[in-house]
């Protein structure tokens, strides 16, 4: 049987499997845990989870989220950590060991890690760009630039906001649609180069250097979040934001989309199926309690998401409050100018009385002014996620805070650390399989290999520095970082449960941790997790098939500018998106069929060759 070829249960006298000499290992357990936590806690914890909480009824969203963690997240996490620790190889090696037909799963993981790493580091490059601009007073995104004859502001900025202008024009220099590629933006190329150099210096010797860097990059975000928490809670309007975030709307739980989003969010948040977690745990000593590690990592991840949501929403509440006051002050100014009332006689407090008094005395005049209706709820409901939250909404909020340079710098350093620690996991997901399979000649030092990976990724990521780069990044984000991962995770689960066998897996875990996995793990591994994965996958397909893919373009010549110009993807772009979804998955059937062919060929040759000595 093919399965007998795997070498999993042999032991040497000191209790460790014989593998390549001097496999690198973690200096201590803390490094390993921090690295895994850093990998799982990424940008999504800060800018995706709070958004989902807001959109799906605040505190009520935590329930589907927790259930998804328990049913889907923790079992998959435990499985990946246990597999990597037991088999002591990267993703390709691990799945090939289970069955040569499954080697494609590892290749798929590696490809996904590579593709996701490309655009993820571009986001870090944008973060660096904003960070470099924090050292100016006033902040460059707080003012519009003046136009050529100094009579007013640049019209694109005037019509939208200075923050939008800085993001779309000064940072991205975005083209009006995806077909218009524009040219390479030299400043983004510089920032991208800086980002890859920073990644390289931390990644240069693999986990040796990662383990040192992680002490800073994994802990600094928590420090910044705490500082922000303390600062944000003292801002006016913060409580409005928090109340809005956490007040539960139990009705949303009846909406199946909430459960789907909770399941997908927990899946992507735990960075499963990238191969990075398998790589990290493969450097562990075999006698390590991976069950406890999985529980720690899962719980810290969910705690961080909730902990990050608090200052974010306090600050968004502050911003909503500021916008609401601006709206009312505008009305006050209109009234003051129209009726020539003394300056500052109408205040926010007595606005109501004045308005009714003026309405009583001259209703036609008041009506002709078209006063805006100012509603705090509308401002609170303006939600944003992803780059919109970080680079538009948050930067706008920071301008209003006293000492804005400091807060902006802290925020962007935090985003940088979060992103960098996730990059480590993705790059390890590429490096470890390459090293394990000895695909690289032995004379190539590790420093050169990591350097080549970084150089290649930097060159490929130059697409995202074009004028249309942001549109391509959105495509990569939606199509590479979603469906392929679900498929890979499904294959992983099936491989362990049905090819390797849960019984043998449980034996391995008992050998490693000293305890057999209990009923919860058995049920989730055998039944609940594959089921949930399948449902999420099918629901994803159905929803994707229903919506025609469109994108939001930033077009200054658009009729309704500053609203986004919603455009459908052109045919060739759509073809590329399909390609991006399928290329990472293709290795799975390819490797399986190749292995089958080799096996069949060998079988046929054996049949023809009856003489056992004629080899």
């Amino acid at each position: 049987m093919i399965d007998d070829q795997d070498v999993l249960t042999e032991e040497t006298p000191d209790g460790e499997s014989k593998d390549t000499p001097e496999r690198p290992k973690w200096n201590n357990k803390v490094q390993y845990l921090l690295t895994c936590i850093g990998f799982t806690v990424g940008l999504g914890s800060v800018w995706r989870f709070p958004y989902l909480c807001q959109v799906y009824g605040g505190g009520a969203f935590l329930i589907p989220y927790l259930i998804s963690l328990v049913v889907e997240g923790l079992p998959l996490l435990h499985m990946e950590l246990a597999i990597g620790q037991r088999l002591r190889m990267g993703s390709i090696g691990v799945w090939s060991s289970m069955s040569p037909y499954l080697g494609g799963v590892g290749v798929a993981s590696m490809l996904v890690s590579l593709l996701v790493g490309l655009f993820y580091n571009t986001i870090i490059a944008w973060v660096l760009w904003y960070f470099f601009h924090c050292f100016q007073s006033p902040l460059p995104w707080s003012q519009c630039p003046v136009n050529a004859n100094h009579t007013g502001y640049v019209s694109e900025c005037e019509l939208s906001t200075p923050v939008n202008y800085f993001w779309y024009r000064r940072t991205l220099n975005i083209t009006p649609n995806i077909e218009d590629s524009g040219s390479l933006q030299w400043w983004l190329v510089l920032c991208l180069a800086t980002a890859w150099c920073l990644v390289y210096i931390c990644f240069i010797r693999g986990i040796e250097t990662i383990g040192k860097a992680i002490y800073v990059t994994a802990t600094f975000p928590y420090l910044v979040l705490t500082i922000f928490l303390v600062r944000a809670l003292t801002l006016p309007g913060a409580l409005d934001g928090l109340v809005y975030l956490f007040s539960p709307d139990w009705e949303t739980m009846k909406n199946p989309k909430v459960w789907l989003d909770a399941a997908t969010q927990i899946f992507f948040s735990l960075s499963l199926a990238f191969g990075g977690l398998i790589a990290f745990s493969s450097y562990n000593p075999q006698k390590n309690n991976c069950e406890r590690d999985a529980l720690i990592i899962g719980c810290v991840n969910i705690f961080t998401s909730v902990y990050a949501a608090i200052p974010i929403f306090a600050i968004l509440g502050f911003k909503a409050n500021a916008d609401y006051n601006d709206c009312r002050n505008e009305n006050i100014l209109t009234l003051t100018n129209a009726f020539s009332i003394g300056d500052e006689n109408i205040t926010l407090q007595n606005y109501g009385e004045w308005l009714s008094h003026l309405n009583a005395s001259d209703p036609t005049e008041v009506a002709s002014l078209n006063l805006k209706t100012c509603n705090l709820q509308t401002y609170l409901e303006q939600s944003a996620s992803g780059t919109g939250l970080a680079f538009i909404v948050f930067t706008e909020a920071v301008i209003e805070m006293p000492g804005s340079q400091l807060w902006a710098a802290l925020f962007f350093i935090m985003l940088f650390c979060l992103g960098l620690s996730s990059m480590f996991g993705m790059l390890e997901g590429i490096l470890t399989p390459l090293l394990d399979l000895h695909l690289v000649p032995a004379w190539v030092p590790k420093e050169m290999l990591t350097g080549l990976i970084c150089l290649f990724s930097f060159t490929a990521a130059l697409i995202f520095t074009l004028g249309s780069g942001n549109y391509w990044l959105e495509i990569f984000n939606s199509y590479v970082g979603s469906l392929p991962l679900l498929i890979i995770a499904f294959f992983e689960m099936t491989a362990v449960t049905y090819v390797y066998g849960i019984k043998r897996f449980s034996d391995d875990i008992e050998w490693m941790t000293g305890r057999r996995p209990n009923l919860y793990w058995q049920i989730t591994w055998r039944l609940l997790s594959p089921l949930m994965l399948l449902m999420v996958f099918l629901a994803y397909i159905v929803i994707e098939a229903e919506t025609t893919p469109t994108y939001n373009a930033w077009n200054p010549d658009f009729v309704d500018f500053p609203l986004h110009d919603v455009q459908p993807y052109p045919g060739w772009v759509y073809a590329i998106t399909v390609l991006l979804s399928t290329i990472p998955i293709i290795p799975i059937p390819l490797v399986a069929s190749y292995t089958l062919l080799v096996f069949l060929k060998k079988r046929i040759m054996d049949r023809h060759n009856i003489n056992p000595y004629a080899k």
Binding site: F131, F135, Q136, Q143, I204, N337, S340, E344, E447
Partner: protein, 216 residues
């Protein structure tokens, strides 16, 4: 005689004042927001302040036209409100029935806008001449954009770090090999890890842990 003169002056004044109306095409509306600008230190708008305004405008007209005939009496003010807002027109000093063209007044005000603002401790936003667009100051842009400096610092540090690490990894194995050779030559390490040289007595190479040649 005196009475006739007075009546004549009065009518001229009235006529002149008639030139300053809401609908006049040669005048501008001015709006001040003193409390917004100065808060606690806001001054009260009174006759003297209005006198200062008229004098400042006369100054602006003199600066622009290089004509020293403009005087406080050339500036007529009307429709004062509590806001504080009012209309003004500028009389031609040579002919008090004629008003100076709107465009000319606008040019004069724009030229001396900063001086006018400063006289009242206000800014373009709080001392508004409606229909005269403010001249926006060019924002200060230093020769080297500050972001390039920050970028230079970071990339310099990172590149230095990379070079240091590459050099150390190139030198590292050589240093290690050197030490190993010394140890072997020194008589080997005993089974329990104590260096031979540290003990009294003779080193028996037969008990060294050196199994380079006999490794299984």
């Amino acid at each position: 005689m005196l009475g006739a003169l007075l009546v004549l002056l009065g009518t001229t004044a009235c006529l002149a004042q008639d030139l300053c109306t809401d609908e006049t095409s040669e005048g501008f509306k001015v709006r001040l927001s003193i409390k917004t600008a100065l808060g606690q230190q806001a001054y009260v708008w009174n006759e003297s302040e209005m006198f200062l305004f008229r004098a400042t405008l006369a100054f602006a007209m003199r600066q622009h036209f290089k004509n020293n005939e403009y005087n406080v009496s050339s500036i007529l003010v009307c429709n004062e409100t509590q806001r504080v807002s009012f209309h003004f027109v500028v009389l031609d000093p040579s002919d008090s029935t004629q008003l100076i063209q709107k465009t000319a007044v606008e040019a004069a005000v724009r030229k001396s806008r900063h001086r006018i603002n400063s006289a009242f401790l206000l800014s373009d936003g709080t001392l508004e001449f409606l229909q005269i667009p403010p001249t926006l100051a060019t924002p200060y842009s230093p020769a080297t954009p500050p972001w390039l400096i920050a970028f230079g610092v970071v990339i310099g540090a990172v590149c230095a770090g990379i070079i240091v690490m590459l050099v150390s990894s190139l030198l590292g194995p050589k240093k290690g090999k050197g030490e190993d050779d010394d140890e072997e030559e020194g008589g080997g390490v005993g089974r329990n890890g104590i260096a031979c040289d540290a003990l009294d007595g003779a080193c028996n190479g037969g008990f060294s842990d050196d199994d380079r040649l006999t490794q299984m």
